[in-house]
Symmetry: C2
Subunit: 373 residues, 2 copies
Amino acid sequence: MAMKLSDLNTPCFVLDINKVEHNATRMRATCERLQLKLRPHTKTHKTLEAALIQTGGSKRCIAVSTLAEAEFYASHGFDDILLAYPITESKIARCLDLMQKLESFHVFVSGPDGVSTLKAHEADLPPPKVWSVVLEVDAGYGRTGFDIEGQEVMDAVQTITESARMSLAGVYCHCGDSYVIWSKTDREKLQRNTVQLLCSLQNRLKDFGVTCPFGTGSTPTCSLPIDLNKSLSEFHPGNYIFYDYQQYLLNACRESDIAGRVMTRVVAHKPEKSMILVDCGFTAISHDGMRQQLPDDDFCLIQGESNLKLIGMSQELGQIVAKLGDLDCTQYPIGTIFFLYPYHSCATAAMHSEYYVHSDNQVVGKWTPVKGW
Amino acid sequence: MAMKLSDLNTPCFVLDINKVEHNATRMRATCERLQLKLRPHTKTHKTLEAALIQTGGSKRCIAVSTLAEAEFYASHGFDDILLAYPITESKIARCLDLMQKLESFHVFVSGPDGVSTLKAHEADLPPPKVWSVVLEVDAGYGRTGFDIEGQEVMDAVQTITESARMSLAGVYCHCGDSYVIWSKTDREKLQRNTVQLLCSLQNRLKDFGVTCPFGTGSTPTCSLPIDLNKSLSEFHPGNYIFYDYQQYLLNACRESDIAGRVMTRVVAHKPEKSMILVDCGFTAISHDGMRQQLPDDDFCLIQGESNLKLIGMSQELGQIVAKLGDLDCTQYPIGTIFFLYPYHSCATAAMHSEYYVHSDNQVVGKWTPVKGW
């Protein structure tokens, strides 16, 4: 493909392969330094190519967010896959197929209901397979998972260890609360607190005669780890492979580390409103972020144009104005290309059926994510 | 496919075929009553099946929002297609291919730049074809299009009519401003104003010796037309085929007319926060709407559960709480199915690669929209 970025139709999602590789290498180095196993999450990209880069080519040890991802990776030679999503009855049949196909497939239990669901399907497992269970715990984020200090998680451990058809593969904690913390002091306090709570649970399990890997995730906390993380065994970030405007605002990366951008062109002028229109509407970039307290109440960053702001979108049009003063449309002729750093790359990547991969300005490939559920 | 809705994996986008047909029939009847031609927009659904229903099987006279849609419909026997999007240089090559393939293909000119772009490519047209131009005018919405009262639109008409390789196919006005008007009085005032401005332009063109069809669109104004609309020649709504929560709030439809819903299941409980978690996250329903002034600051409507509210989403999880009082999780066991009416069906449909079509509770088909640009 002897194409340049400027040959592409817009809007499109473009990925800088050098940044993707840099971000992957850096996270692997972080994990090596802290002696942690890296179980990268594939939810941000959902492609074979990025998962190969994340796993250093091993195709082993990943976390996924949907059954569609699990099946996609399983059918392409990946193994040691964790479906990091609360297990429920309606997912059992497809999980049983994955148990058959994979050497190592782990399911996620986020509450007592998950344990009973698995228990009810022990007899359906292809012998000698057992349910490999990762328990999700909640250390304060307040979304899903067992209360990390409660009794229910101990009851779950007991049920699992007593069963001949279940094994405890690990404990998983997503630090989603790190996404609303903007100061280093507060973030490190959260991190210490989370790791300490996980260590307490680790000790309670030890007293109970059980040991297993303990993992913690979220791109901000894994990108900016604390030494205490060494007490645990695993990191499982996902977004770090692309990063985005949000991660940059959280200090988890530099602006120059953001690998995924939406490329868009100016398609119309509205001089009487000092506004230009680009071909990036709400089908090409997510609204995600716009409810946050952002600088300028913005939901993307326009690369190299810090005084410009995307103020609204309809289906196929984005409206850009100046933050300060009046935008002069003649400075941005029809056809002018802009690159938008999305606020949330997971949400924006999900809107694209193809990612155009480039090295500098040269298009070097096209990656196709798996879709659906 | 002998499946029931409850057999489907969730999340998924489901379409009630009877409502789709009812909405299509009603809009056709409205147009017949007002003696207007209906040029349905396909941007909301992007499927063959819904376009067949919208055109009453004729496969003629549609508006599309992307070149990908135009090419998709052209390759499936549709004709008389309007690319209702500002024409720019980067779209010319594919438009020339469409000119070759279709009997009747119209391009959209939203400013002086569009006219010059077409002019520069007259010689590239396959003889005896001419550019069939629809002029977009702006009657106050303030997004794209020529100022309806300005001189530039007259200059464009002159250039087009003087050229041997261009013809004026019509004038198009999208009433996007109808989406922020909640009272009948204000909406009708806007409608009268828009039609009167269009009639003035019609008269200016007549004085200039030119007549052509005048069309106006937006689902709220086409669903609730005024008699004055008879002075024009065309309606070009799109969203009406599915409708959504927004249209219901705008009085453009009844709740029971909303044909497209996201089906989701309860996957976890968080009793200490009186919250249930469903498997509809931001990959399955759009954030669109959440910046609006909505009842309860909501961005979807949970069918038959008027006291429940979706308060936030991560990638694959939605958080539901009670508006008044505490939600009792035991009322909604894991696996409970909810149907969400999206705030904006165009935005939510765009997130799905498949739509499941049902009649009552029976799944009767699967439609696949065209993606990309």
